[in-house]
Symmetry: C2
Subunit: 451 residues, 2 copies
Amino acid sequence: MTTKYVLDESRIPTSWVNLMADLPGEPLPPLNPGTGQPAGPEDLTPIFPMGLIEQEVSTESEVEIPDEVREIYKLWRPTPLIRAHRLERELDTPAHIYYKYEGVSPAGSHKPNSAVAQAYYNKEAGIRKLVTETGAGQWGSALSLACRMFGLECEVFMVGVSYDQKPYRRAMIETWGGSVHRSPTDLTDAGRSQASHPTGSLGIAISEAVEVAAKSDDTNYALGSVLNHVCLHQTVIGQESIAAMEMAGEYPDVVVGCVGGGSNFAGLIYPFVRANLRQGKTTRFLGAEPAACPTLTRGTYAYDFGDTVGMTPLMPMYTLGHDFVPAPLHAGGLRYHGDAPSLCALVKEGIVEATAVAQTAAFEAAVRFASCEGIIPGPEPAHAIKATIDEALAAKEAGEERVILLGLSGHGHFDMAAYAAYHAGELEDLEFSEAEMQDALDRLPEAPSIA
Amino acid sequence: MTTKYVLDESRIPTSWVNLMADLPGEPLPPLNPGTGQPAGPEDLTPIFPMGLIEQEVSTESEVEIPDEVREIYKLWRPTPLIRAHRLERELDTPAHIYYKYEGVSPAGSHKPNSAVAQAYYNKEAGIRKLVTETGAGQWGSALSLACRMFGLECEVFMVGVSYDQKPYRRAMIETWGGSVHRSPTDLTDAGRSQASHPTGSLGIAISEAVEVAAKSDDTNYALGSVLNHVCLHQTVIGQESIAAMEMAGEYPDVVVGCVGGGSNFAGLIYPFVRANLRQGKTTRFLGAEPAACPTLTRGTYAYDFGDTVGMTPLMPMYTLGHDFVPAPLHAGGLRYHGDAPSLCALVKEGIVEATAVAQTAAFEAAVRFASCEGIIPGPEPAHAIKATIDEALAAKEAGEERVILLGLSGHGHFDMAAYAAYHAGELEDLEFSEAEMQDALDRLPEAPSIA
């Protein structure tokens, strides 16, 4: 009985999958926030290097991975695909459950897949320093790691509530040489304008980092999710999953992942979505998001800013409103008002399904998973585990031998305070009322309707 | 350029290596603390199951690994062997540095290799609950995980200073269903007698756990290091290392690991020591211990208790004295007054070398390693990394293409407070004076001299 499927190092993908090439019609363009006109590469050059801007707008179906990036991927990739025999037995389900585990990276999540690529292209462009935001601390630590690998400086604006909850993530960022600020700070105009939201949010932290990057020539900004080039880099996950499932002699009926900004889920599913489009496969795709930040399930499909203050281009996406400040739930990586436009378009088209999971249900599922499979999951993929268990139980109900692929995007070693709170019965299920949600939506920027 | 060597799951070892069979002469027996006579299996039956007692005294050269144990090993084994290309480049050394990384286990260290085996044999013997001590928290979390896998209860006495420094290790133990006490407690006679040492020590925590196990029929004790059967279980590390280095086409000139109780280092080197004895290989073996708890480098070779209060059999080993309370250094897993008798015998014979490493030098080496290889090491293997870097620099000095194998026994995700202290310049190098050390040695129990 085989448990782990690990590809040989030589089978780390040699190119990233650009799903944009396979989608019918033209994607909705981002808009310049000043003019309302489609944003071009020139809108992005103050904060991104040309190598990444080209990827952002590319319509090629494959983008070659530079050798320098693959060499660093080799430190932890290919990541294992694991058959959850013990969880299947616990659920007494005929479903076959596999999970692709990205927690083996030095930063403990999928985030370095893009961080390493972004650091590489910035280094190539002669940039000296990268600035970014981080929610749960996973992106910040991943970028700090990647910058260290390429000799770049790294400065991180960390969402206030995560900064307080996760001091050890900060120490991790510092161990790789990065510096960390608690956002909102008084170092930026954006931060000072949000002093009344001391818990912070990803949107605020993004505004701060973009401001710092825009003001300096040798400093760029790096975003850990949402944008096309970030989703692109993450497709190593899905490509390896396809190859490893081939080793197992199976193909997924459903692929499940968690959605914060969307890059982990996009990276997992886009190679499978392409197989649906090109080869007529019929795999279902299920994104799990927190009930306390329900972008895909309760948001509005509209043009909105990527940040809180309104510095970024307007992006077509499901949004809760750019000044929506999510409750301080423990899955910090899922606290974002929007989602990747490319992923939102697939939801809009009905190609991707979404479900909202309450925090306590996610932790309950995570503890059950840990009891069977050993690994203690991050709070973010815990949401996907809950959805996976529901799928497996539905398969049992239906008497189907359903093949489920779960994206286990990271471990929970830096989230044990949240587990302690769960064990102590102190976790709350926070939800927003319709009125509260409408309040933020009333402040959407003026832009063409896309709903 | 290959970086990672990962064996196929089918190559998880099918038996453990018992080095006892290959050592010349009879090993010195443990002694009953009451009678001073050699301790037999009957001295151990109150706290250990017969399956483990048989392994403790076995002279067979191989012990078969039960299928049930191998099935659980499959969740993370074989662990990767990684060529430290980037560290070699940083040191500009002709040495080839490989590290065997045990941090991929769910508990983050090598400890589950023995915990799973011990839980299995106790379950087979009809035991309901295991009690143990833990220093850094790694053994306690490993045993909690293993007990969960076999449906056993788990109770952990955690060294006071680690309990305070590592709340997230506690949450991890609890996530797998175990319960945790801060040792010394007032739950046991042993704990109450040591109330004047509030920082605790491994020796005190062992006394407490043994006391609880000895008082109950369906409860046994589990030790995470020192004993023959624990070292035996860990030999999966060395066996996999030999096979993976074969994939790399190399064989180590020197093997380096950290030594606390000795099981990680023993598990790494015993298969190689056997190859020295049987096949005439000439590999050197170097154990790195903390300068603040320098058992092998400054201790006395004598019979001593394994615990502080004097409940265990007397064991022949290097010791700092059973009531030596080590300074609260951050490498909690290395704070033990003695070392595995089997390992001590090899040091006594000159087959194994030892070196003492100061705490700040260990962290400096760990940060350097993390900057090159990504992985943030636990404070314990950080000591071995410092010794490895010294070996690699010596090879450079000598102009030798030396092949070095480093045992990277675990990650440092639960030790980031120590890294934060290092970054803040707050770590101190604690050492004991000769007078302080002599003080504890003056209280060695009466027993035949073996020095």
